[in-house]
């Protein structure tokens, strides 16, 4: 038997936290931005085009730094040719998600001004090695905190090129209308530009969701990109802890 604590605890050794809100941090997706701007280029475009239809809150568990361990795991749990590797990484990442939600789902709900999320769903994978998207298995079967509320609400909509990372309201469609006006927690593994998660958030809201929050395991991060290195140098020495999350810090700072 493996416990969430045993599997998630060693991640403290290598996870890099996102920086708290402030100058140089995108106010939506937490990545590095030029100090003159509040939002990164992608989030600015999304906000300009879709404003209130976007997610109410975005919470990355940690940075998925290119060429570091978390980014490696977030790719290999889906695509590694070795099934035993996929399985071991799937269990570990499930522990990471469970640990975070166990300690911080309330913070995410608070950031959306709701007591809880009625439904938990995942962004559909665009490709996977064994048919089922392992993130749906993690959220819908492994993580005790989410599996009873899990519903696969989203399916692929209008096909876009794999390289198209933009926000498109028709990129996904919901599998039903959300007539009961639920609050929805949307899980994704990696946030690269937000194109997939924000497209999914719009689809959920258009179908009737009153609140949509996004929790991603890793915020993709390239140290060589723009102001990335300065951000990384500030974030890395702030030891990762399970005790606080980025949204909590935001509440405390207000």
């Amino acid at each position: 038997m493996a416990t969430v604590f045993e599997l998630s605890e060693p991640y403290r050794n290598h996870l890099v936290p996102v920086l708290p809100p402030g100058v140089g941090v995108c106010a939506i997706c937490w990545t590095a931005v030029d100090p003159a701007y509040r939002l990164c280029f992608r989030c600015y475009n999304a906000q300009s085009a879709y404003g209130p239809r976007l997610a109410d809150a975005v919470a990355p568990i940690a940075l998925a730094v290119k060429r570091e361990q978390l980014a490696h795991e977030l790719w290999h749990y889906k695509y590694d040719p070795d099934a035993s590797v996929r399985g071991r990484l799937e269990l570990r990442l499930a522990a990471v998600l469970w640990r975070f939600l166990g300690q911080h789902e309330a913070c995410v709900a608070e950031a959306c001004n709701v007591p809880r999320f009625d439904i938990v769903t995942t962004v559909p994978g665009t490709r996977s090695r064994d048919g089922e998207h392992p993130l749906a298995r993690i959220t819908g079967a492994i993580v005790g905190q989410t599996r009873d509320r899990f519903e696969p609400l989203l399916a692929l909509g209008t096909p876009y090129d794999v390289e198209d990372r933009g926000v498109h309201p028709d990129r996904y469609r919901t599998t039903r209308t959300l007539a009961e006006r639920p609050t929805v927690l949307l899980i994704d593994d990696t946030w690269t530009t937000g194109g997939r998660a924000q497209s999914a958030a719009i689809a959920l809201r258009d179908a009737g969701a009153t609140r949509v929050a996004v929790v991603v395991i890793g915020r993709h991060f390239d140290r060589a990109f723009g102001p990335g290195e300065a951000y990384y140098k500030a974030a890395k020495p702030r030891r990762f802890t399970w005790e606080t999350c980025c949204l909590e810090v935001r509440t405390a700072d207000r």
Binding site: A2, V4, P10, R12, D80
Partner: protein, 294 residues
Amino acid sequence: MTREEQATLVAWLRRPRVVWPTVTDQLEQHGSVREAVAEAAPAQASLFDTSAGDDLAAAAADLERWERAGIRMVSVLDTSYPSNLRMIHQRPPVLFMRGVDDERDAMSVAVVGTREPTPRGIEQTRRLAAGLIKRNIPVISGLAAGIDSTAHRTALASEGRTVAVIGTGIDRAYPPQNAELQDEIAAKGLVISQFLPGSPPTKVSFPMRNAVMSGYALATVVVEAAYRSGARMQARLALQHGRHVFLMRSLLEHDWAREYSQRPGVTVVDNADDVFGELQRLASESTAELVWAQ
């Protein structure tokens, strides 16, 4: 992987300014050497042109020569690439191997330490390695002088499985006086090198070797090590890989070890029994059901 693909990969890795971690990523993303090369750059794609075939022919001849010397090449695209190593971000694109694979290596332990051990360190290493072998746990080390050599020799003397992960090309030995030990390990166990055959030892090759050793084994035990040592470096790398680290209790006389002992995923141990108990828990994680309880 076909011989032609292997030759292409070797020729690619020999090109100037090729970044090996990028090669690994591209191989994995494309799933074949040919597609990865085609994507990498037109200059690399020309590796397949017969007009630019000198490099390819040389690589193919080398592969033949290595094979005759009992050296095989395994890439991340091969199913025989070690699973433990696949799980870490510092996995090299290729490994060169002499010896035989063994399923038991999935639950192996790296035993590392200083090149200038004290008699106490030697004695601890002997007891630890013999104890691990008695429990059928393969002993992995780096074939360096001191603790590494003691760990290998003890495993061999106990008729157990030992694997050397070395910091030079697989056809070279460092230190040179360990050449015979290296041959014996290749005959009875396995020698692994992530460097092209012929590569000399360099300042960076040993820490790179430590990363691969950490990845190959399920956990690392540091026996005796000063702050500035490859063994401490391996403990640091192992934690970055999410791997478990064991510190022999006597290490706690060092500030670095006291600091490490407070980290998650680090256990202070007295003997092989302590290592074995924790190792069984680590090995069961992969198949277990997940529960919240602490």
